[in-house]
């Protein structure tokens, strides 16, 4: 009986471990960005906390920590450290998060080509290489040095009616 009580106390101790709450940094002068105008408005808000609204098109089925937020004109990925509720799909959300930017340039294309060349399936390999060519031509035609791929690091969300 004594052993049983001791074991029960040990089990209860482990289960009573309580996690510490995380504090979020205060947010000042938060910009609201239109998803339709993301490419135009984003450059001046990179690395800032912003609000952006759109429809949750899908939650990544592998980890559940990525949402594709869409509008009629645009889309953006929202990344979270915790899993999103799949029930958000099809709902209009206002996401608060930190706007990030990935630079897509010639070095990115070279990396994509290297990755594509490791694909064993011939059709997939050709398709991936063609995509790189299209992107490279598209960048050349744009006259820019690079494309910006914007994303949002999730902080919180609201569901709108």
């Amino acid at each position: 009986m004594k052993n049983r009580i001791q074991t029960s106390v040990m089990i209860a101790s482990i289960l009573l471990l309580i996690s510490c709450g995380s504090e979020k940094a205060p947010v000042s002068e938060m910009a609201t960005i239109s998803l339709d105008l993301l490419q135009e408005e984003a450059p001046k808000h990179v690395n800032q906390t912003i609000k952006i609204s759109g429809i949750a098109d899908h939650v990544c089925k592998h980890g559940g920590k990525k949402i594709l937020l869409v509008s009629n004109e645009n889309n953006v990925h929202v990344f979270s450290k915790e899993r999103f509720d799949e029930n958000l799909v099809g709902q209009e959300l206002i996401i608060t998060g930190i706007l990030g930017e990935n630079i897509i340039d010639e070095s990115t294309f070279q990396k994509w080509e290297e990755d594509a060349n490791t694909i064993e399936d011939h059709a997939s390999k050709i398709s991936s290489l063609e995509y790189v060519t299209v992107m490279r031509d598209s960048l050349k035609a744009s006259g820019k040095d690079y494309f910006s791929d914007y994303y949002v690091d999730y902080i919180s969300h609201q569901i709108t009616e």
Partner: protein, 184 residues
């Protein structure tokens, strides 16, 4: 040694009972998620093609027309939002994750009906570590797995123990992942 054996048996037994449910959850979802490439472990998916004469291009009655389509195709009015991913394509979301995509030029469409897989959906939800509380609980479960492994060395003595057949099984269980790492 007698005390170590006694405590090993007690801990193995009691933590084992405590985590029976969790073991089943993680075992079931582990198999389900190992085969993500072969199936959708959370939902059964049914795709149906259809053709509609309902006008779905953007106009003053779009909302009304979309509701009429959803009623006729999905037999529900539980619609969420919609948007136009391309000029001539509309995507309509239904409650529960189902969706409808229609070519607004020719009315050709496809509905993807999702239905939660009972037991698997819930097990996978937990396996995916839904929040911080579950993180702590599943950490305790993972620590218990290590405890089970360590205590099993001391639970049985004699030819079935670690110096007998138990030791051989232990070696096999260690060699298999090592071989996999070498040859993968």
């Amino acid at each position: 040694m007698k005390q170590i054996r006694k405590w090993s048996r007690i801990l193995h037994r009691d933590f084992g009972f405590l985590f029976i449910g969790t073991s089943i959850i993680f075992g079931l979802s582990g198999i389900a998620l190992n085969h993500l490439a072969d199936w959708n472990p959370n939902y059964s998916v049914e795709n149906k093609q259809f053709k509609t004469d309902i006008e779905l291009r953007k106009n003053i009655t779009t909302d009304q027309n979309i509701r009429a389509l959803v009623n006729s195709i999905a037999d529900t009015d539980d619609m969420r939002k919609y948007y136009y991913p391309e000029g001539n394509r509309i995507k309509i979301f239904l409650k529960g994750g189902s969706s409808i995509i229609v070519n607004t030029d020719n009315g050709m469409g496809r509905i993807e009906l999702l239905k939660r897989r009972p037991l698997f959906y819930q097990s996978n939800f937990l396996h995916y570590n839904p929040n911080r509380w579950w993180t702590w609980f599943s950490d305790a479960f993972s620590a218990s797995l290590i405890l089970f492994a360590l205590t099993s060395f001391f639970m049985v003595k004699g030819k079935r123990g670690v110096w007998g057949s138990g030791g051989i099984y232990t070696l096999i269980g260690i060699i298999i992942p090592i071989l996999f790492l070498i040859f993968s």
